[in-house]
C-alpha cells in the first residue's frame, strides 16, 4: 500500500471510531449543541425580539426580527459544536489512547480526521434541527434551491474551520474542562460581538469597528443573505476566505501542539 492509501484507510478507521462515540454519547453531544442555540433563539425572539424589532424599524425591509435572528442562531449552532470537538480531542490526548495510536505509527492526519469529519457531520445535523425549530416559531426562509446548496456549503466550511480551531484547543488544553472553557469565546463572545443578534451599525463605534472586521460577521451575513433569498454579496466570499484562514490556523496549531516536546 502507498502511504496515501494507508493514511486514507487509517482515517476511515478513526472515522468509524468517532461515529461509534457519537452514537454512544448521543445525549451529551446533541442535547447541548441543540439546546443552547434553541434557548437563545426563544429568548431573543420572545423576550427581546419585540423591542429589538421595534428598534430596527423598517431597516430590515419590514420583515420580522425572527427572520434576522435565525441566521445568527444558525451560526451560533455551528460555533457551539466547538465544545464537543475540543472535549473529545482533549480526552483522547490526556488519556493513554493517543500515545497508543502514536506508537502504532498512526499519522497526525488520520488521528484528527475522525474528529474533524464527524464533527462537521454532527453540526450539519444540529443546524438542520435548529432551522426546523426556527420554522416552528415563525421563521420563513426565502431561499431558492441553489441558496440552500450555498447555505450547506457555508455551514460546512464554517464548521470545518471552527472544528480545526477546537481540535487545536483540545490538543493544547490540559483537561477536558479547560478545553471546554477555551471554546467559550468561539461559542459566545465572538457571536455576540458580530452581527448575530443586531446589525453592527447599531453598536458603539469601537465595538462596531471590531464587529465589522472579525470573521464571524461575514459568516452570519452570508447565511442571512442566502436564507433571505438576497443576492450573494461580498460577504460570502469574505466568509469563505476567513474559514480558510481559521482552518489553516487551527491546522498549524495542531501541528505545533503535536510536535511539542515529542516527535
Amino acid at each position: 500500500m502507498t502511504n496515501l492509501a494507508i493514511a486514507a484507510q487509517d482515517s476511515a478507521t478513526m472515522l468509524g471510531r468517532e461515529l461509534k462515540h457519537t452514537r454512544r454519547l448521543f445525549g451529551l453531544l446533541f442535547v447541548g449543541s441543540i439546546l443552547v442555540p434553541v434557548v437563545m433563539l426563544l429568548l431573543f425572539d420572545y423576550i427581546l425580539g419585540g423591542a429589538i424589532g421595534l428598534g430596527l424599524g423598517g431597516r430590515e425591509g419590514g420583515r420580522a426580527y425572527i427572520d434576522f435572528l435565525v441566521p445568527g442562531i444558525l451560526m451560533m449552532t455551528v460555533a457551539a459544536g466547538s465544545s464537543a470537538t475540543a472535549i473529545n480531542v482533549c480526552t483522547d490526548m490526556t488519556g493513554g489512547i493517543f500515545d497508543r495510536f502514536r506508537v502504532m505509527a498512526v499519522g497526525r492526519g488520520a488521528l484528527l480526521a475522525g474528529h474533524i469529519w464527524v464533527s462537521v457531520l454532527r453540526t450539519l445535523v444540529t443546524a438542520t434541527v435548529v432551522i426546523g425549530v426556527g420554522v416552528m416559531v415563525g421563521f420563513r426562509p426565502r431561499a431558492s434551491g441553489w441558496d440552500w446548496v450555498g447555505l450547506i456549503g457555508i455551514v460546512a466550511a464554517f464548521s470545518f474551520a471552527v472544528t480545526w480551531l477546537s481540535a487545536a484547543i483540545g490538543m493544547a488544553a490540559k483537561s477536558a474542562a479547560a478545553a471546554n472553557g477555551w471554546t467559550l469565546p468561539i461559542q459566545f463572545l465572538l457571536p455576540f460581538l458580530s452581527s448575530t443578534f443586531v446589525p453592527t451599525d447599531t453598536m458603539p463605534a469601537g465595538l462596531r469597528w471590531f464587529a465589522e472586521r472579525q470573521p464571524f460577521t461575514p459568516v452570519v451575513d452570508s447565511m442571512r443573505d442566502l436564507l433571505g433569498g438576497a443576492p450573494i454579496g461580498s460577504a460570502a466570499y469574505l466568509a469563505l476566505v476567513w474559514c480558510g484562514v481559521m482552518a489553516l490556523a487551527g491546522y498549524l496549531w495542531t501541528r505545533l501542539a503535536f510536535d511539542r516536546g515529542s516527535r
Binding site: 500500500m1 494507508i6 484507510q9 487509517d10 478507521t13 468509524g16 471510531r17 461509534k20 462515540h21 454512544r24 454519547l25 488519556g95 493513554g96 489512547i97 500515545d99 497508543r100 495510536f101 502514536r102 506508537v103 502504532m104 505509527a105 498512526v106 516536546g261 515529542s262 516527535r263
Partner: protein, 319 residues
Amino acid sequence: MNVATQPQRPTAVSVAGLRKAYADKVVLVGVDLQIAAGEVFALLGPNGAGKTTAVRILSTLLRADAGSATVCGYDLDREPHKVRSVIGVTGQFSAVDPLLSGEENLALMGRLHHLSGTDRRARTIELLERFDLVEASRQVAGTYSGGMRRRLDLAMTLMGRPQMVFLDEPTTGLDPRGRQTVWQQIRDLAAGGITILLTTQYLEEADRLADRVAVLDGGRIVAEGTPGQLKSRLPGAHVRLRFAHRSSLDAAARALPASRPDEEGLVLRVPHPGGVRPLREMLARLGDDIQVEDLFIHTPDLDDVFFALTANPSRGQIR
C-alpha cells in the same frame, strides 16, 4: 556490560549515553543498557527515577537530548517507523477506549495494524479468550474493573504481534489477584519468546519476573545484573533475636561479640553465614539462661539492594 548470561542471543535493545532534561530538571543522566532478545528486563526504581521517561524514549514517544539507541535492530532516531512496527507498549495509564467494547477496542487495533478481516477476527477471539475477557467482550470498556482494563490494555498491545513489549508499571493499582494474573500473562509472553522491558517500583515483581534487573535512581543506572547477582553483592544475611527484657539483651550481646543491638526494640542483630550449624552454635552460646522471645532469619532480598542503592547513595555505592 554484562550479557554473559545469554551469550548466544542477539541484542534487542542497545542504549548508549541516553540523556533527557526538561526545562527545570534533568531526568536521565547518561543511561546505558543492553537487553538480549527474548529476555525479560526490569527497570527498577523509585518514583521520579526516570523509568517512564526511558520507556517513552525507547518507544518513540519522546526524543532524547543525547545518546543513541537501537530497538530490534532499528535506530530510534533514523527509523522510528520501523521501531513502531515491531514494538507494543502498555503505558502506566490504561490506554483503552472507554466508549468502545472490549471486542471493538481489539478490532480497532487490528484495523490500525492493517490486519486482514479474517486475521483480525481470529486474533480478536484468541486474545479475548487468552485474557479472560470473552464474557465482557460486548460491554464498553468504561464499565470494566481496573484489572479487566489492564488485561484489555495488554491484549490491545499484543494485537499486532510485537517482537518487543514495553510495560510501564504493569501492575500499579491492581489488587493481589489482578497482579498475579498480570504476572502470569507476562510469563506467558516471555515463554513465547517476546522481549520484555518492564518498569516497576515493586522489588518482588522484578525478582519474580525478570531475567535481569537494572536499578535506576536519579536518572542513572546504579546497579545491574540478575536478581541473584544483585542480592549477592550485599552482605546482609543475619539473624534477629528479640528479647523480653533489657537484661537478656545485654547478656546475649556479651555472649555474641559479633552482634549489635538494633536501634529500636529489644532486638539483637547477629551476622549469619547461612546453614543450620552456625545457628545451632549461636543458640548454644546463648545457653539456657538467656530467654529468647523470637527468632527471625533474614536473607537479603531486592529490598535491601534497593534501599542500599537508592536511599543513601554515600553508603550504598556497592558497584
